[in-house]
Amino acid sequence: MSAPLLSVRALRKSYGALAVTYGVDLDVHPGEIHALIGPNGAGKTTLISLISGEIAPDSGQILIEGRDVTGLPVHRRARAGLARSFQITSVVAAFPALENVVLALQAAAGPSFRLVPAPGAERARREEARALLARVGLGARAEAPAAALSHGEKRALELAMALAGKPRLLLLDEPMAGTGPDESRAMVDLIASLKTSCGILLVEHDMDAVFRLADRVSVLVAGSVIARGTPAEVRADPAVRAAYLGDEA
């Protein structure tokens, strides 16, 4: 198997006496969707924040393509090829949808302190942004202010912004949460289509989506991975059924 895109090694994070991440090991390989499931409060979003660099771990290592990024700030990790969506959607509300994606494309090109407008580069970015919006199903909403988009549309916009960076590793924090059934189905198809271009770490509560999309599943309970394997293996694991899935699965 090729070198992992993302390796998390013995990662620990505590808030006082509360260990929210307790010795987590995790790999994401290129072209793989690795789903992270677990009950509320298991530490899934904390783990995403640790990987993206918004919070610092107490110990352990995070490697992107074999390179230790544990000490790097958020924006440096993003430049190392990591993109994320947020559990609570995070877009620039004051900008139109298109402008959000243009910003993401501009960021992907690296920091630039050009103080005068660059009409040529801007036109190319606008076109590319329109193509990305069309790809996530927002083609018709390009000029709408981001603040006026529906929840599902904001989710899609976040994904378009993440894709603008041509990331090698995508962290998706509950992309299906709060979306309607149609939007949800479209999102599943979209995520499935992204697999060819990057590895994905997917945090999701929608088990149908997880089992349809994931190549591997890790189950996080109380900060530790209690089981991992293919969706079928995880579904059959008695410890997982007891801790999380219940009998309905």
Partner: protein, 311 residues
């Protein structure tokens, strides 16, 4: 679009003003335009980047002292003195901004206030240049050896030209890819970082540019009054500049051309505050008793309007 229209209308009115105005009125308008440059530079970082600087008068005062001290030392030409004044103010902004911009919100307001007060006390202790009493300029700056600025009419148009140029520079930068990062980081800093951009250097450069423009306004103010004093750097004046930007943007909102960072409001605010102050002070020496409630009413009206505008 309407913001540009508002700005154009104000500029047109100012360009035609000398037809009707006497010398006294011209000097009042020049003062208003000089404050408009400072307010523009504050609106650029306040409205454009969300940085509420409470030390903006210090940047203005440093520009004024730049011209005053150079003149005292024998350099009278604006072609040298103005760029030096702008550069010194920009450097002060760069040095203090490098520290201040590590903080946010109230802390940023407080630390810029603290740096402003430091500069204020430094000018007070400049005994070679008048100290507490300030420094009277021998004359206005020359331009390439010509004493053009002596004429109120020339001064009016030079100031107007520099005000328009400042507005264009601010508008151009806010419309550039650089400005996009500034505005995005104002709205959602976390998102900008997740996209791979650190807002800090963008804010620092913007702060230094604002410093240069504030320095320019100070250089003009020193020429208008032919006098500089520590009062130029006082925190009262920083507060006045914030009032100009905020009140101006609210008045502009009422005209449908509003919001901070839209620049038209800053010019409207500076003109409005200076002229209303002047008008009221002719009525009574206790003009602040009227001016204060006027501001409250304006802010209330603007607040109600913006709440209605939101769905």
């Amino acid at each position: 679009m309407r913001a540009a229209l508002l700005l154009s209308a104000l500029v047109a009115a100012l360009a035609l003003a000398p037809l009707a105005a006497d010398t006294y009125m011209l000097s009042l308008l020049a003062r208003a335009m000089i404050f408009a440059i400072a307010a523009l530079s504050l609106d650029f970082i306040l409205g454009g980047a969300g940085l509420v600087s409470f030390g903006h008068a210090a940047l203005m005062g440093i520009g004024a002292y730049g011209v005053g001290i150079l003149m005292e030392e024998g350099t009278r030409d604006a072609l040298v003195a103005f760029p030096v004044a702008m550069a010194v103010a920009a450097l002060f902004a760069l040095a203090t901004g490098a520290i201040s911009l590590k903080t946010r919100g109230v802390y940023f307001i407080m630390i810029t206030l603290a740096f402003g007060q430091m500069a204020f006390f430094v000018t007070q202790s400049l005994s070679a240049y008048g100290g507490d009493d300030g420094l009277t300029l021998a004359a206005r700056s020359t331009i390439a050896g010509n004493r053009w600025l002596k004429s109120p009419l020339t001064f009016h148009y030079v100031t107007l030209g520099l005000m328009v140029a400042s507005a264009l520079v601010c508008a151009m930068i806010l419309a550039s890819p650089f400005g996009r990062v500034l505005k995005a980081a104002k709205d959602n800093e976390r998102r900008v970082r997740a996209l791979g951009l650190d807002p800090y250097p963008y804010r620092l450069i913007a702060y230094a540019i604002a410093g240069a423009l504030a320095g320019l306004s100070g250089a003009l103010l020193a020429n208008l009054t032919e006098f500089v004093s520590p009062a130029f750097l006082s925190w009262h004046r920083s507060g006045e500049l914030i009032v100009m930007v905020v009140a101006g943007s609210m008045a502009a909102s009422a005209l449908g051309a509003g919001g901070t960072g839209r620049l038209g409001g800053a010019v409207l605010g500076a003109l409005g505050v200076i002229l209303v102050e002047e008008g009221l002070s002719h009525l009574t020496e206790h003009w602040r008793i009227i001016f204060g409630p006027l501001l409250v009413l304006l802010v209330l009206a603007g607040g109600v309007r913006s709440r209605r505008a939101r769905p």
